[in-house]
Symmetry: C2
Subunit: 328 residues, 2 copies
């Protein structure tokens, strides 16, 4: 086997931990270490042999790392880190603020091109794998309609929102796709679906002592943007139940393209994910794209990239000839 | 819009007709004509304005065509045509004899590299879209198992086989995936499945006058390679029913990857197709890849290619910036 691809992890929350675990499943990859803004001594990695460094040390280790995997948040970390680190490293990030992707791309592209690095932004499953399937769907069935459903899964943003409601001590929110809506889409009838028809929202909350359950329920289901466009249920549970039954971070969803190739001939393409752990799966996507990024950089493909720019074969540790013989 | 991409169709059966129909759905593509080994006057295209030429005329039209879509068979046509035509044209074929893909690739690659053309082999849905999903599955979930199910769909090869049985005047065969097997795979339990457990085969036959139904049934269900490893049902129908209910060519299937990212955390990726017409959908795949092939040729990427080598964004008529803004 060729030299392993040397990976650095920037940021160590759920996603960073998932990347650390995933690198262990890929013999062609080698983890150089975790780079953190916290005090390195305060970070306990999954594996005792994983090195933890201060983020500042990165600039002294440019020759030891082939690809950085950025595991920070899209709101504050990545808009700053990705353009900055692309000046010294090839990298993968999971920037997922859809509306701001073009400006993030441009910022990263400028430094990556100037520095002969390769920086893939917005990897993960949405944006990421779901996006790829939206492109395939449109390209293969131009006379058609695309649908994306999310869930059943824990939404971090909506869980944070319910925890900010007065009287709520803790809670989680699950986004649930409508079975009826999915069935209508699969039938090829190309339904027009409202937000309310596509998904429902299930909240599980622990109340603070003395809080009024009805007031909490009303505050949640009428919350603008987050809940008012949806049919929302609120179930009050105790803290023990929350800790026992709602600690996992399952997620998933469906991308469905329904189209017609001639009068009366329907074709349906469906891609779905059922994820036991959202951060661990997202990490798996980032790791596979880190392999592709390293190869693209070696081929001289510099600048910002997205999943749309990556030939699928580059994600695999196998050679092109092996893939043709075994998987085509 | 830029100049349209000019397409020639080589061979005009069900697949060629599907390509003709599909090009009409894509405004950035233009059909130069159909090229046939038959007498051009004997070919009636879908659209009256479609030009039909003798295959020999191709060599006089090299400057009028950007990409050829080869619609002949994998047994006799493509092994000869693809390497030969790659000397003058960029092209897409749907070579689907899995075991002979490496040698077909090498033969096409030699002429395409020498001629600065780009020749994508084995496009379609399997090989093709299903292959891409097998690569993604392995790369994303290295600790896992992959499963491909086909159907419910009409199998041309098996239908041909039952029509060769003495006493059979006509018939069709449907490959049917087992619901129980799919459910077991989706559960994440990574079952080991025998051929018999994965699919059943349903045959509908019209008997010749005086033929013995039991003898025909026995001959079919014991036929080596085709049926003896499967649970097969044989239903006798009349010629009218065959013509009325079994003229469509539906197909589809599932590629499922079930894997684990940490102890007890299962992840399942599923890709499925429900196709009203197998040849029309296969044609849609060939047409989208013809667009990509033309772009790769313009980028100087010469030689034989497969779907593993094609960045998804190249399949779309939209620009990279449009895709990032609208679909990522």
């Amino acid at each position: 086997m060729a030299n392993p691809i040397r990976i650095g992890i920037v940021g160590y929350g759920n996603l960073g931990r998932g990347v650390e675990a995933c690198i262990g499943l890929n013999p062609d990859l080698q983890l150089v270490g975790v780079f953190t803004r916290r005090s390195p001594e305060s970070v306990i990695p999954l594996h005792a042999h994983t090195a933890v460094f201060a983020l500042d040390e990165l600039s002294t280790r440019t020759t030891e790392i082939d690809v950085l995997i950025l595991c920070g948040g899209s709101k504050n970390d990545l808009p700053e880190q990705s353009p900055q680190l692309a000046a010294q490293f090839s990298l993968v990030d999971s920037f997922d603020t859809h509306a701001r992707i073009p400006e993030h791309f441009d910022a990263v592209d400028a430094t990556a091109r100037a520095s002969a690095t390769t920086a893939l932004i917005s990897a993960g499953w949405d944006p990421g794998l779901f996006s790829i399937n939206r492109v395939f769907g449109e390209a293969l069935l131009p006379d058609g309609a695309s649908y994306t459903f999310w869930g059943r899964g824990l939404s971090q943003g909506h869980s944070d929102a319910i925890r900010r409601v007065p009287g709520v001590a803790g809670g989680v929110q699950y986004t649930v796709p409508s079975d009826a809506a999915i069935a209508a889409v699969r039938s090829g009838s190309r339904p027009e679906l409202t937000t309310r028809q596509k998904h429902t929202r299930e909240c599980f909350v622990v109340l603070e002592p003395g809080a009024d359950a009805d007031a909490v329920r009303t505050a949640i289901i009428t919350m603008p943007h987050y809940f008012d466009d949806y049919d929302t249920t609120v179930t009050v549970i105790d803290a023990e139940t929350l800790a026992r039954d709602h600690a996992a971070m399952p997620h998933g969803g469906f991308v469905i393209r329904s189209g017609t190739t001639s009068a009366g001939t329907d074709q349906v393409i469906e891609y779905s994910l059922a994820l036991g752990s959202n951060p661990e799966f997202t990490a798996s996507v980032l790791v596979a794209y880190a392999r592709a990024v390293h190869r693209m950089n070696q081929q001289g493909q510099f600048g910002a990239k997205t999943v749309f720019d990556v030939p699928p074969g580059l994600l695999s540790p196998k050679s092109a000839a092996e893939l043709r013989a075994e998987l085509l």
